[in-house]
């Protein structure tokens, strides 16, 4: 599963971050590192980009870029 496929409202944990160069570095640096918990909050009105919540802040990224991030679902504690 990748981050772009996740329904809004669902929580996931990051398995790995793909992509390369500037994009990959930026994703990692913004805190999208493996084992980080992320909640998908919203999809923009035109269907893209998406809004996610992680490390107590809100981030937006494009679906194309989100598709580079492999995730798995976590059950709500």
């Amino acid at each position: 599963m990748t981050l772009d496929e996740i329904q809004p409202g669902k929580k996931v944990v990051i398995k790995s971050v793909g992509g390369q160069g500037l994009l990959r570095r930026r994703l990692l640096e913004m805190g999208l590192t493996p084992k980080t918990k992320v909640m998908v909050r919203k999809v923009a009105p035109m269907g893209d980009p998406i809004e996610v919540f992680l490390r107590s802040y809100v981030l937006t990224l494009r679906k194309d870029d989100a598709s580079k991030i492999a995730v798995e679902e976590v059950k709500d504690e």
């Binding site: 160069g21 500037l22 990692l28 913004m30 923009a44 035109m46 809100v58 494009r62």
Partner: protein, 669 residues
């Protein structure tokens, strides 16, 4: 020599507010050399010339990708500031500390300022300041910049820390840490000789920065050893070097937060933001609300407040210049000098200055949108629309303002997140037909297309937008090659803008504009006036058809023959249109000696056919913007050459499109 203090932090962490609070009114705005990145400097209050504060751009990391990151890194490494003030958002410590971790590698004395502490405390959360201080190895000052709380503490901390050496901290552990140590031994001496911080050099080597390899003259043998160390590190940590490095930093931060940050719940502001966003970025209402907000701002700026103020200022300027001219006349000042002052300088600068109310009002609203956090939502909502042309949602607002006036639109590009986006938006914005061109459309439509007014107007606007899109794609594939900066952007919590920030921002823009009016525009007005009022023997002329400008107009007129209008009056009007677009109308009126609308229409019919009138319209929409917009372009691009290239490109596109339309039109019609 004053001590240099660098202020750095993520975007949206209140850096500007702290800068304003620390420096008061002593600041001045410039650019980092060679790029469109803004640089603000100011002296810290109470210390006058002793402590100079330099505001670095809001960035999330020191990686060498965007021009903001590059200039910041360069500044820190090459200008050797005496102290770094790292400001972080206390409601979002984890991500904010990432940059801190990178800054700590630079071996420069640092203090950490925790902003927005009021929000943390109000929400019942708490941060162990002493613990944080201990773990980070630097002074930590809690403040609330927007409430002006803690500013004195920051100044005291600066005084205490500035002459202290940087504390060496050996953070972290694990395989990456081991690798860093091993590589340090190899490059330590060379880094030392070059005056570069060792740990910074090593992380650059781990990231595979080829420049750093060259800079440190790493030979093949050492390269080999480093590679070996890194492979070992990758095996042990089970991930690649880039991710391992980032992960090490975040692991350290997580540990710090685990022991020092106690946040039970989201802050009130975060909860409130989520609620606001339910409406403002709503699936169906998000876009209409955005359009509504922009329409409202346009209405306030261009009609409700702007227009009457503009008229008032216009009248004021006219009154002043009339009185001045009268005074000069009764004192027997030479006619040519009176004409220079009256028709040249006062008319030219005055007509541009009357835009000032519009600029002030518009930037008042734009600062509100920016400081409240809504601008980031606009980017979120509109991103998809601009992606195909290689821009992000952030460029939408400047382009939209372009329909009002190109000058503030170009000035507004300064808030865009990357140098590339800024430059591209500056080039494209003038294609959005500005409101000063409306009189031209009015004149031509009245004379040639009175029954199809709406259709012609819509077509003209659409041609502008279409040309912008085509140009964007063209520029993306030629001039602005390379990867665009990825659209990975924080959506900050909504906050109430502080009055002081908004006011200072508006004041900045107004000052900028007045400065332009009295430099570039001042000179341009004199030149145009001279060309309009003199002939080649430098005698003043009564009949404007005898002027140098008219001669140049006649000379260049044949160039426009393929476009369908080779009358010298048409080309002369295009040239005066460069001072201000409305001048096209007044020039054509004067040169055709039309005394009424009917006679103007008749005269125009002798210059244009309906088809060539239309291509003339197309040309006026697209060709180089007025001198005020040119000055803004030059100011934002920080380069005469690039500014001239920009307007040449715009004029070239205008010619090309008008040519196509006329030639194809002639065949079909």
């Amino acid at each position: 020599m004053s001590k240099k203090i660098a202020l750095i932090g993520n975007q949206n962490c209140g850096k500007t507010t702290l800068f304003n609070a620390l420096t008061g009114s002593s600041q001045h705005v410039g650019n980092f050399p060679g790029v469109t990145v803004e640089q603000k400097r100011g002296f810290i209050k109470k210390h006058k010339e002793d402590y100079e504060l330099i505001d670095l751009p809001g960035i999330y990391s020191l990686s060498p990708y965007t021009s903001e990151e590059i200039v910041s890194t360069q500044f820190l490494l090459e200008e050797h500031p005496d102290l770094i003030i790292d400001i972080i958002d206390a409601t979002n410590i984890e991500r904010n500390l990432y940059l801190t971790m990178q800054l700590m590698e630079l071996n420069i004395p640092m203090i950490l300022v925790l902003n927005m502490m009021d929000e943390v405390i109000q929400s019942g959360n708490c941060i162990d300041i002493d613990g944080l201080q201990e773990r980070m190895g630097m002074k930590v000052i809690p403040i609330s910049a927007s409430k002006n709380e803690g500013i004195e503490d920051v100044i005291t901390a600066i005084e205490k820390t500035i002459d202290q050496p940087a504390r060496h901290l050996d953070l972290c552990s694990g395989p990456v840490h081991k690798a860093i140590h091993a590589i340090s031994h190899i490059v330590e001496q060379k880094a030392h000789d070059l005056g570069l911080p060792v740990r910074y050099c090593v992380t650059k080597l781990i990231e595979g920065d080829t420049n750093m390899y060259k800079r440190l003259y790493v030979n093949d043998n050492d390269k080999h050893i480093i590679e070996h160390i890194l492979e070992g590190m990758e095996n042990e940590s089970g991930t690649d070097r880039e991710a391992a490095l980032v992960d090490m930093r975040y692991s350290f931060i997580e540990e710090v937060c685990y022991y020092c940050v106690f946040s039970e719940s989201a802050t009130k502001e975060q909860v409130r933001s989520e609620k606001i966003d339910r409406l403002l970025t709503h699936k169906y209402f998000g876009i209409p609300i955005f359009i509504g907000i922009m329409l409202l701002i346009f209405y306030f700026t261009f009609s409700l407040l702007g227009a009457p103020l503009q008229d008032l200022l216009d009248q004021g300027i006219t009154f002043l210049s009339d009185s001045l001219l009268h005074f000069l006349e009764i004192n027997d000042v030479a006619y040519w000098l009176r004409a220079l002052i009256g028709d040249g300088i006062l008319a030219g600068v005055g007509s541009v200055l009357s835009f000032l109310p519009v600029i002030v009002i518009l930037f008042f609203f734009l600062s509100l949108l920016e400081d409240s956090g809504y601008m980031a939502r606009v980017a979120f909502v509109m991103d998809k629309a601009l992606r195909k042309i290689g821009l992000s949602g952030r460029s939408f607002v400047p382009m939209l303002i372009g329909f009002g006036c190109s000058v503030p639109a170009i000035m507004a590009t300064r808030t865009l997140a990357s140098d590339r986006d800024r430059k591209m938006t500056i080039v494209l914005t003038p294609f959005m037909s500005c409101s000063a061109k409306l009189p031209i459309y009015g004149m031509i439509i009245a004379a040639f297309f009175p029954s199809k007014a709406a259709l012609v107007m819509i077509t003209i606007y659409c041609i502008g937008i279409l040309v912008a899109i085509v140009s964007a794609v063209f520029l993306k594939k030629t001039v602005f090659l390379g990867e665009p900066v990825p659209f990975v952007m924080e959506l900050p919590a909504y906050r109430i803008p502080t009055f002081k920030n908004v006011l200072l921002n508006v004041w900045d823009k107004a000052k900028d504009f007045i400065h332009k009016a009295f430099t570039v525009i001042f000179i341009a007005s004199i030149v145009i006036w001279f060309l309009q009022s003199f002939n080649f023997t430098f005698d003043m002329i009564e009949d404007s058809s005898q002027s140098i400008l008219a001669a140049i107009g006649s000379y260049v007129a044949p160039i426009f023959k393929p476009l369908g209008f080779d009358d010298w009056r048409a080309s002369t009007a295009l040239m005066t249109g460069i001072t201000a677009k409305e001048s096209v109308v007044s020039t054509l009126t004067v040169l055709t000696q039309a005394s009424s609308t009917v006679s103007l229409n008749n005269a125009l019919a002798t210059i244009f056919t309906p088809l060539s009138a239309f291509t003339y319209l197309v040309f006026t929409v697209l060709y180089m913007p007025c001198i005020a917009a040119f000055a803004a372009t030059k100011r934002e691009l920080c380069s005469w050459i690039q500014a001239i290239l920009t307007v040449s490109f715009q004029t070239g596109m205008a010619y090309l499109v008008a040519l196509l339309i006329y030639q194809i039109g002639s065949v079909i019609l």
